[in-house]
């Protein structure tokens, strides 16, 4: 370890991470509501429940998946989300993946279930 960071050669491996930041369910989402209101005019009236968030991708080096998830959860709590209004959904996979290849759709349910970080978690 150097400067508190895990470095290559310390027995750590890279994990690809996808953090999805969304407004908490009880917080009004004006962007989502605006998109949803426009859908019937485009012929997509069957689409409901639109919520807008942001996706943040990065690589973290850690000893194992549990350690990686713990670090990412702390990062989400302290910086990537405002826990007053936002939740984070974290998806992790070992290795360094091409951008865009990591996401809920690429991981089977139960293999790497996304962890949801709620307020105060």
């Amino acid at each position: 370890m150097a400067n508190g960071r895990a470095c290559k050669g310390d027995g750590v491996t890279p994990f690809s991470v996808l953090v999805e930041v969304t407004l908490r369910p009880d917080v009004a989402d004006p962007q989502g509501a605006t998109i949803e209101r426009s859908l019937p005019a485009l012929g997509f009236g069957e689409v409901t429940g639109v919520r807008v968030g942001k996706a943040i991708r990065f690589t973290v080096e850690a000893a194992d998946e549990t350690a990686a998830r713990t670090r990412v959860e702390e990062l989400c709590r302290r910086f990537l989300t405002n826990p007053v209004i936002e939740d984070a959904t974290i998806t992790l996979a070992p290795g360094t993946l091409e951008p865009g290849t990591l996401g809920p759709g690429t991981l089977g349910p139960g293999t790497l279930g996304p962890g949801t970080l709620g307020p105060g978690a």
Partner: protein, 242 residues
């Protein structure tokens, strides 16, 4: 009365604040966000703008600017701190004020003049204002929609921490909140810009009582949060004439 005005990369109201402070007899001092000390200032203003480009969330990165350690220390020691607009957002991100500011209801950037009512005079921002007075102040923001949990809102109401309310809510803020103060009443945040309402040439002088309050906010005896003291624990007097 020296007022430190913190300048982040992307701040754009620091000179307006400095001008207004000078007009009211104070001595403004611009403090770069990279400084780790506030020097010997008597009060601090976090001005409006787009600190660090508002990237990630407004205030999210400014919160980690080197100067913020000194701002938190100053606030925790009972020093008067006011965050205006983007400065309010920084204070909530830094945890110096509860709640958060999200995108305006209606998704419009608002640039207009609004009427706000002074709800309490027990704060560093309103000690020289009149309770119940209606002030006309400019707003310029996209993310000024104050939100907090029901528990926090109940606490704000119970402890008289809502200092300004909109008469005609422009942005969807919960309970028409335009400004709040901390439990210690020395840290205040508001979305309207009092510094742009200090001269009739600019359309309103209604910002003056708010900034005059800040200039007079240092108490005789320096009531400290750590002593369990509150700004409303004793009559407000100026340490030096403002």
């Amino acid at each position: 009365m020296k007022v430190g005005v913190v300048v982040f990369p992307g701040s754009n109201c620091e000179h307006d604040v400095a001008e207004a402070v000078t007009l009211l007899g104070g001595d403004p001092e611009l403090v770069w966000h990279g400084d780790r000390s506030l020097g010997d200032v008597d009060a601090v203003v976090l001005p409006g703008g787009f600190a660090h480009g508002d990237y990630l969330r407004p205030g999210a990165i400014a919160r980690f600017s080197p100067v913020m350690g000194a701002v938190v220390e100053f606030a925790n020691a009972g020093g008067p701190v006011v965050g205006i607009c983007n400065g309010f957002q920084v204070l909530t991100e830094a945890g110096l004020l509860p709640g958060a500011l999200q995108k305006n209801r209606g998704l419009k950037f608002l640039c207009t003049t609004v009427a706000v009512r002074v709800e309490t005079t027990q704060s560093a921002l309103t000690s020289r204002a009149t309770a119940g007075a209606v002030l006309r102040l400019p707003i310029n923001h996209f993310e000024g929609n104050y939100t907090c949990s029901p528990d926090v809102l109940a606490q704000l109401r119970a402890d008289d921490q809502i200092v300004l309310r909109y008469l005609d809510n422009p942005n969807g803020s919960v309970d028409d909140i335009a400004g709040i103060c901390s439990a210690g009443r020395n840290v205040c945040g508001l979305m309207p810009h009092p510094e742009r309402a200090c001269d009739t040439l600019l359309g309103s002088e209604d910002g003056r009582p708010l900034l005059k309050s800040l200039l007079g906010a240092r108490l005789a005896g320096d009531v400290r949060l750590g002593d369990g003291g509150r700004l409303n624990a004793s009559p407000v007097t100026t340490r030096r004439p403002a």
